[in-house]
């Protein structure tokens, strides 16, 4: 049996969820159809799942299901960007990003009537990294420019954002996977951020406010 697969039985045992919940989440497409892998085993036919993906997904659903309805959760997990676009005042009022970050963004890329989801995502990531102190203002400029120019090409894929520094010089780039990158000794990894996780966070944040 493949190591990376987990049987339905084992999954229910580990996570403590019930058949009813699992089937309900499948109905609501919280768990993608292609994760259900059918195989015959010595006890008859059984369903298997990709181990890491399903356990991470189930944990997330369990943690969030008290705050969000299942339909809202389904939206959070859909890989596509949200359809929403918001005005700058809404972004501030709904506490999605701070005024400081928004001003910086506007300074870099100009004032806009409405911000699309991709723009908001960029501002959100900017804020997150600035707040954590990993990113300087100059590097923020790099981030916004790079996201604007290249993010469209990676949208819908599991892109990662990487920032490295050597001798005080920063290089920022977007890549589909940063797993296979090796540098010389003087290079320091500063940031490695999967964009998909930020999309999830942002969607949750936007949902939260809609309810309130």
């Amino acid at each position: 049996m493949d190591d990376d697969l987990i049987s339905k039985k084992e999954l229910l045992e580990i996570t403590g969820i019930s058949y009813g919940q699992l089937y309900r989440w499948k109905r609501k497409s919280l768990i993608p159809e292609d994760w259900f892998i059918r195989k015959s085993s010595y006890t008859g036919q059984e369903t298997f799942f990709p181990r890491h993906k399903i356990i991470a997904r189930v944990d997330k659903i369990i943690n969030m299901k008290d705050d969000l309805s299942l339909d809202e959760l389904a939206d959070v997990f859909s890989p596509s960007a949200g359809e929403t676009s918001l005005r700058s005042t809404e972004l501030i009022e709904r506490n999605i990003v701070s005024l400081l970050t928004l001003d910086l963004y506007v300074e870099i890329s100009g004032q806009q009537e409405e911000f699309t989801f991709d723009h908001i995502l960029c501002i959100y990531i900017l804020e997150k990294l600035l707040k954590s102190g990993e990113l300087s203002r100059e590097e923020g400029l790099l981030l916004v420019r790079t996201m604007e120019e290249h993010y469209g090409k990676l949208a819908g894929k599991n892109a990662e954002l990487v920032l490295i520094r050597k001798m005080g010089v920063s290089i920022l780039f977007l890549t589909e996977s940063a797993d296979q990158l090796y540098f010389d000794k003087g290079v320091k990894w500063v940031i490695r951020l999967p964009i998909a996780s930020s999309i999830e966070e942002l969607k949750l944040k936007m949902n939260e406010r809609e309810e309130a």
């Binding site: 039985k9 019930s18 058949y19 009813g20 699992l22 089937y23 309900r24 109905r27 006890t43 008859g44």
Partner: protein, 242 residues
């Protein structure tokens, strides 16, 4: 949304008629009608024979005769008192089938109530599935509450959900008294649920937390977590607690 842009009008066909489809308020067909395109309406009622070659979008659909829909159907409420065939996917909030309905693709709904015959070639997904009659599902029946009362033999590839109850509706039919082979039973490959209560069921594997295997069951393997009850009149190959 479209309602505001353009006023919806009624469409009545009495006798024989044909329409290209379009946006309407109430559509009523008494006789024979053919819709050769997509139709979007508030209510769709047919008392004769109707064929829709495109998709159907309606708040409520009422079929008292026969109907055939080639395209996908998006409905709020569907009542089939006659016979209908859906060639593509169907999504609805409530589905009542008192006649006979055939779905060539999947059926999705909140509630499905069958008082007649339901046949699907793919899966059925709903919150509550209750049957007093007969069904054949060539796929997965995925429903929170499954309540089956059979009066003819039923089958599904797989059944999954929270509560699953299977019963015979009438004690014994005329045919059954004549020959045992006519006996009414449910056939399924796998049945999985939290609470499973079966009678007259033939299955390969049954997995659940609380399982009751009632009279007339033939099951190869039962895997249960908490409780098990097995009727002396049931045949179970092996029974394992996990």
């Amino acid at each position: 949304m479209e309602q505001k842009q353009q006023p919806r009008h009624d469409l009545n066909i009495s006798g024989m008629g044909r329409t290209g489809g379009g946006v309407y308020k109430d559509v009523r067909i008494d006789g024979m009608g053919k819709v050769s395109g997509d139709i979007d309406c508030i209510t769709f009622t047919s008392n004769g024979t109707v064929g829709i070659e495109g998709s159907l979008h309606a708040e409520s659909m009422n079929i008292n005769g026969t109907a055939k829909v080639e395209g996908p159907a998006m409905l709020d409420k569907m009542v089939i008192d006659g016979m209908s065939t859906f060639k593509d996917q169907v999504q609805s909030r409530t589905v009542f089938i008192n006649g006979r309905a055939t779905f060539d693709k999947s059926l999705k709904s909140d509630t499905v109530e069958v008082g007649g015959i339901l046949k699907t070639k793919e899966g059925v997904q709903c919150e509550s599935f209750s049957v007093k009659g007969h069904f054949t599902i060539d796929g997965l029946l995925n429903a929170d509450q499954v309540d089956i009362k059979m009066n003819l033999s039923c089958s599904a590839q797989e059944i999954g959900g929270e509560n699953i109850v299977v019963r015979k509706w009438k004690s014994s039919s005329f045919w059954e008294q004549l020959h045992h082979g006519f006996s009414t039973r449910l056939t399924a490959h796998i049945i999985e649920g939290d609470h499973i209560d079966l009678e007259y069921t033939e299955a390969d594997t049954v997995r659940g937390n609380d399982v009751r295997i009632g009279p007339g069951c033939t099951i190869r393997l039962v895997e249960y977590q908490n409780t098990i009850y097995q009727d002396p009149d049931a045949k179970v190959g092996s029974c394992v607690q996990i």
